[in-house]
Symmetry: C2
Subunit: 201 residues, 2 copies
DNA sequence: GGGGATGTAGACAGATCTGTCTACACAGGG
DNA sequence: CCCTGTGTAGACAGATCTGTCTACATCCCC
């Protein structure tokens, strides 16, 4: 595998990412990360002084990786600044259909541990803030912009959770999650038009 | 405390509920449940043959308790069948402001463990199905009814997650979560009117 | 050739977790 | 009076987890 060629620290981080994301934090022991990334215990502790340090590094890495993917997917699905929320659904459809999809790592770790490890919650809030900023960019400038962006972000998180609950279900896939998201995004896009055109019935 | 008077099984279940909900499943050891509910180990294992059995019992109990609260809160905030989604926001506001609020137990356990314990996912899906049915009851009968109910349910789950991320934040409370939910619910209620009146611009 | 950085293998301590087991207490009904 | 059901206290086995430590191997640059 190509992973074996990479430097030790990166190999650890990539392995930890896959295991933490798939199985959860507490369910993943350090020994498993060490075995799976084919390094020794000493090497591991040279790069990460503790499991907590690895968890924080995992979150930073996941954040960068997810945000990069998100921007790229939106681009690929025709997102343009100020032109509406619709590409969000197409981008997320891509994610939800990925076989390793298991929800949002930041929602998951908050659900699992709250702020048991200091700093985790702040990272999660920061992640959601960055997602919000990207969503806001899709909306035209108006007084209601951030209100609508927040609403869209809530809808996105709801759809992620719904897809996560659906995804393990036999054959149902994530259709309801996506359809529901589209319904909400359309309604929000319409209310943008209504507010910019001042045409509220 | 009044808890001490209750029969052993109920005492165990109530204690486990509080600990599981607050700290998560894996973070809560059996020993802690036993110590906190002031019973002995033998008594515990008489009522629950394993930790998994306790987890499943916790989920059943939590389901009944939450659904009962949900119905009651909607009633108290003026929900009437077919008359719109608005009371949802008021009911959830009540929950979010509860100091022990830590999100949806079913979203949390799915985030933490997926389906590592057989049966858990099915219970979570069942819970969300029941929530959906209650939400659908707020909407008037129409072709779009279940589509809109699903969208509202996704918005509710999104708001729950948002409130959970906000709630530990200093002083910000759950304002954005609730405001976002209201924006979505209003947009959905409006699209009900539009579809029933056939007045799509 | 020598030294430092980087690596491996694996034993170990100490903690924690689940689940079982022994030994004992006590109340109520036949 | 004794038996059964229900309870307590706590030792224990066996597993697993984090983090440390020793002893040894390799490689690259000076």
């Amino acid at each position: 595998m190509t992973l074996a060629d990479k430097p030790a620290r990166e190999r650890i981080l990539l392995t930890a990412h896959d295991l933490f994301y798939r199985d959860g934090i507490r369910a993943t022991g350090i020994d498993k990360v060490i075995a799976e990334s084919a390094i020794s215990k000493v090497t591991f502790y040279r790069y990460f002084p503790s499991k907590n340090a690895l968890i924080l590094a995992f979150l930073e890495y996941r954040h960068r990786r997810w945000i990069d993917w998100f921007n790229d997917a939106l681009q690929r699905h025709g997102a343009k600044p100020g032109e509406g929320l619709r590409p969000l659904a197409a981008a997320l459809a891509e994610w939800f259909s990925n076989p390793v999809f298991r929800g949002c790592a930041f929602i998951n770790i908050t659900a699992e541990m709250g702020d048991a490890i200091p700093g985790v919650l702040a990272i999660c809030q920061h992640h959601k803030q960055d997602m919000l900023a990207i969503i806001a960019d899709l909306l035209p400038d108006s007084a209601a912009r951030m209100t609508l962006a927040n609403a869209a972000a809530v809808a996105v998180d709801g759809a992620i959770v719904k897809a996560q609950l659906e995804s393990t279900q036999v054959n149902t896939k994530t259709k309801v999650a996506l359809q529901s998201l589209e319904v909400i995004l359309d309604a929000l896009d319409k209310s943008v038009l209504a507010s910019t055109n001042a045409q509220v019935p």
